[in-house]
């Protein structure tokens, strides 16, 4: 059986020392090992940016795709082979900026993948610009007067668009993060885990300390009902979004089981040849 070590690669992460992404990687390695998965059964698709490098450090099949395109890549992968455990990972710029359209539609379809977003409220690899989750008034190289836009409310968006599993985690709490990852990966359907993962180099506002002060942990709330979307949205509104834990989950049909061409056999394992009588019948329909 594979251990956490089996999910490590020889590549040394090039993230800045103290980057929140280190714990995301470690928690993910721990989660898959504890779930008893083998490296060849897992595929990790990443986007672009600091977060996108995660596929280099995680020993499974992987696809380092394009800006904002991790979700359609992961969708194609999962629909081609539903037997694989497919995880998509990226950043807030990647996933909620250029990839926002894909995000909402992947939620709607309920593709059976886990989507981990390393949310640091800033663009890191391009050296510190305002991101879709930066607070209004956030000053950066691209918003010297302070950001004029409202931040994207990613988890709320997921909930109102029919997500079947929505959670938030914090890089400062690897234990909770690991538990959430395990539940997210085990969940049948689309699972979003938005991870607050501070950028220690460019974001001097949303630091570990700042998050620690702000965060509300639903695990510590009495009578929190993760099946109740209104409850989740209320708690999120009260805490201005800085909430961790499993916020919402529901049972919904999984896309690959209901889509056009749904089959028990993975598409990648099907016969390529049609039986001869089928060929004839098919051509007959064009007369």
């Amino acid at each position: 059986m594979a251990t956490m070590k089996d999910f490590r690669t020889k590549n040394k992460p090039t993230w800045c020392p103290g980057c929140g992404d280190f714990t995301v990687l470690a928690a993910l390695q721990k989660a898959v090992a504890e779930l008893g998965l083998e490296p060849e059964q897992v595929a990790l698709v990443s986007g672009i940016g600091c977060s996108g490098k995660i596929s280099q450090y995680f020993n499974s099949y992987g696809f380092h795709s394009l800006h904002g395109r991790s979700l359609p890549t992961a969708t194609g992968l999962k629909l081609a082979n539903q037997d694989l455990t497919v995880i998509a990972a990226g950043g807030d710029g990647d996933g909620y900026g250029i990839g926002m359209g894909h995000f909402v539609h992947t939620v709607r379809r309920n593709i059976d993948i886990t989507y981990i977003v390393m949310d640091n409220h800033i663009y890191g690899l391009t050296t510190g610009q305002t991101s879709p989750t930066s607070e209004r008034g956030f000053r950066s190289k691209t918003s010297p007067q302070g950001a004029a836009e409202e931040p994207v409310k990613a988890v709320e968006t997921a909930i109102v668009n029919g997500a079947s599993f929505v959670a938030q985690a914090f890089s400062g709490d690897v234990k909770q993060m690991t538990r959430i990852f395990k539940e997210a990966i085990s969940h049948k359907g689309f699972a979003l885990v938005n991870c607050f993962s501070p950028c220690v180099t460019f974001n001097k506002v949303n630091t570990y300390e700042w998050f620690k002060e702000q965060l509300v942990n639903v695990d510590e709330l009495e009578n929190y009902q993760p099946e109740d979307a209104d409850c989740a949205l209320r708690v999120l509104a009260e805490a201005n979004g800085t909430v961790t834990g499993i916020l919402y989950k529901q049972k919904r049909p999984v896309y690959h089981e209901v889509m056009s061409g749904a089959s028990d056999v993975a598409a990648a394992k099907l016969d390529l040849r049609l039986p001869k009588e089928e060929q004839q019948a098919l051509l007959q329909s064009f007369r």
């Binding site: 690669t9 020889k10 590549n11 083998e38 490296p39 060849e40 059964q41 595929a43 698709v45 672009i48 490098k53 596929s55 280099q56 020993n59 499974s60 099949y61 992987g62 696809f63 380092h64 795709s65 394009l66 395109r69 359609p72 890549t73 992961a74 969708t75 194609g76 992968l77 999962k78 629909l79 081609a80 082979n81 037997d83 694989l84 359209g101 894909h102 909402v104 539609h105 690959h256 889509m259 056009s260 061409g261 749904a262 089959s263 056999v265 598409a267 990648a268 099907l270 016969d271 390529l272 040849r273 049609l274 001869k276 089928e278 060929q279 098919l282 051509l283 007959q284 064009f286 007369r287």
Partner: protein, 590 residues
């Protein structure tokens, strides 16, 4: 102009009044009777109103072009007469809805035989104005000498589910139109001789788009993601109609970017996957084409070209994406661009695209256009044969080979002489790699700062296609070694070029026809060989800037001999237009 024994028929009216169904019923019936047909739909980007028409050219042998002229025009409104007058000759028959068109205007200088028929009134009397398409079918049957019951079996098939009374009233509508016409006008245009298939069932009646879908299915494609766009949507419809039965997945994506990336993800996972689109969609897919190139993931894209740029002419044909397909996407990648020219080639070239994509682990684009994609035509039974499709999955690494390696030893992007490295499929033990959109080393690790690795990997990718043999698919030449004129084209214009060439040959002109069917990698040597004996070269293409001519000049030369015959109005070429060009330029007596 017709050099074949043919008959041309057209029905026109406002969009939404049953023009397509009239054309479809008439054409399908004739196809089943053993005629060879080519049909062309002229339509506008709106749902109701405007002008639409459906033209059918009927012949004794396979025909690929809808014809310059018109023998019979069935007009439901005045606009149909105005917009199609240029196709009428003094021998044409004009059937019009006399109840609706009380003050008929025939354009000056047009002499036609007029056949007024109160089509809508007759349909109303029989119970519903909707049935005017059936009345018109009966009228048409009489004019061309078919029997009144020619449509019976199709009516039973189409309306059987709606009950006997619906079937009977439709048959009655056909008979009413038939009898009215026989009484007043009789047979005015005799059909050519039918050539029934051996089993008596008629030929296949199929569009380029449908053939693309079947070709993909025959090749083992089991995943299509696409976004609806005219004129490519029919490919998705074909996939939806036929893939699911065999476990093939079809997904309507949120946009073309997603569709193309999903196809890449699915190909990476080991299924044969594709996407289909047209102009604006192919532009959105350009970043994905680059991704497939550098990550060395197989990918098949079908681009059914339409008038551009921007939203351009959504419902009209053009061949103006060529440059984009050949040169598009940032950076440099190996790619293959195929340009099939017939329905049969749509089938075989699409099927082969999957072999090429997996063999060379690169994007393969199949470029057709609205004219080829949406025109239904008859092809002989057996001309589309699943058994003739070979499946070659290229360099896949086996489980045994992987297990013989130490963990981590497999190098997905190993530098090889051929430029192609063995591919593993997720799920295979010891086959782990990360498909990379960043530059990388042999083991799929990012090495973007290392110039040596960069050069090695770029050179590896760029030499992949050195093994591509252009002699198999890329050109077809018909003509003598030396010519006065050699006409060159790609894609759907083949039909009109072919007829123009035949016409010139009949007039004793030494003429050749070079059809280019692969534009990337460009078959330089073959094109040079076939064009070197030509006094004049006429490159015929549906675009404004002569993109194919430009490509020939860049790759092969012959600058002083090449002339362009261009059309970018949205309509396909007529044979006359091509001939006029030769006449004009050379003073050839026609």
């Amino acid at each position: 102009m017709n050099t074949l024994a043919t008959l041309t028929w057209k029905v026109g009216g406002a969009q939404g009044e049953g023009i397509d169904s009239t054309g479809d019923i008439f054409a399908t019936t004739l196809n089943r009777l053993g005629y060879y047909l080519f049909t062309y739909r002229h339509f506008m980007s709106l749902i109701k109103g405007g002008h639409t028409n459906y033209k059918v050219r009927v012949a004794e042998s396979p025909v690929r072009y809808h014809g310059d002229d018109l023998d019979i025009l069935v007009a439901f409104d005045q606009r149909t007469i105005d917009e199609n007058a240029h196709e009428l000759t003094e021998d044409s028959v004009l059937i019009y809805d006399s109840g609706k068109l009380k003050s008929l205007v025939i354009p000056d200088g047009i002499q036609v035989k007029l056949c007024p028929v109160p089509v809508t009134d007759m349909a109303k009397e029989l119970g519903s104005p909707i049935m005017k398409n059936m009345v018109a079918s009966g009228v048409s049957a009489a004019i061309v000498g078919l029997s009144a019951d020619a449509f019976d079996s199709l009516i039973e098939e189409r309306f059987g589910k709606k009950g006997d009374s619906v079937v009977e009233s439709n048959k009655a509508a056909v008979r009413a139109g038939f009898e009215f016409t026989m009484e007043r006008y009789g047979v005015l245009k005799q059909l050519p001789n039918p050539q029934p298939a051996d089993d008596g069932g008629g030929h296949l009646f199929i569009s380029g788009n449908e053939a693309v879908g079947l070709g993909a299915l025959a090749a083992g494609c089991r995943f299509l993601a696409a976004y609806p766009i005219t004129p490519a949507t029919e490919i998705m419809y074909t996939a939806l109609a036929h893939f699911p039965r065999y476990g093939g997945k079809v997904l309507q994506a949120e946009d073309e970017i997603a569709a193309c990336i999903m196809a890449i993800g699915a190909n990476y996972a080991g299924v044969r996957a594709m996407t289909s689109t047209s102009g604006p969609g192919i532009s959105l897919m350009q970043e994905a084409i680059g991704l497939a190139g550098i990550s060395e993931t197989p990918l098949v894209i079908v681009d059914v070209m339409r008038g551009g740029p921007g939203t351009g002419l959504p419902t009209k044909t053009e061949q103006s994406d060529l440059n984009e397909l050949v040169y598009g996407s940032h950076g440099e990648i190996p790619r293959i661009v195929l340009t099939p020219s017939t329905v049969e080639e749509c089938f075989y070239y699409t099927a082969e695209a999957f072999n090429l994509a997996e063999k060379y682990q690169c994007p393969v684009i199949v470029a057709t256009d609205l004219y080829l994609g949406m025109s239904k035509q008859s092809v002989p039974v057996g001309a589309i044969d699943f058994e003739k499709v070979t499946i070659d999955r290229g360099e896949l690494i086996s489980d045994e080979e992987l297990l013989a390696l130490a963990p981590g030893e497999y190098r997905r992007y190993a530098v090889t002489e051929s430029g192609i490295s063995k591919r593993s499929i997720p799920g295979q033990k010891n086959g782990r790699f990360v498909a990379m959109s960043n530059e990388h080393d042999e083991g799929a690790n990012e090495e973007i700062e290392d110039p040596e690795t960069r050069v090695q990997q770029m050179a590896k990718r760029m030499r992949k296609l050195n093994a591509f043999d252009p002699s198999v698919l890329s050109v077809e030449y018909d003509g003598p070694e030396t010519t006065k004129w050699t006409l060159v084209g790609f894609g759907s214009t083949r039909a009109q070029i072919g007829e123009a060439v035949k016409h010139l040959q009949d007039k004793g002109v030494k003429v050749g026809h070079l059809q280019i069917k692969v534009v990337k990698p460009f078959p330089d040597a073959l094109v040079k060989r076939y064009l070197s004996g030509a006094e004049r070269i006429l490159v015929v293409e549906n675009n404004a800037t002569g993109q194919l001519a430009e490509l020939i000049r860049a790759r092969v030369g012959f600058h002083d001999r090449i002339q362009s015959c261009l059309k970018f109005s949205g309509d396909p070429f007529t044979v006359e237009e091509i001939l006029a060009h030769c006449k004009l330029e050379q003073g050839v007596g026609l």
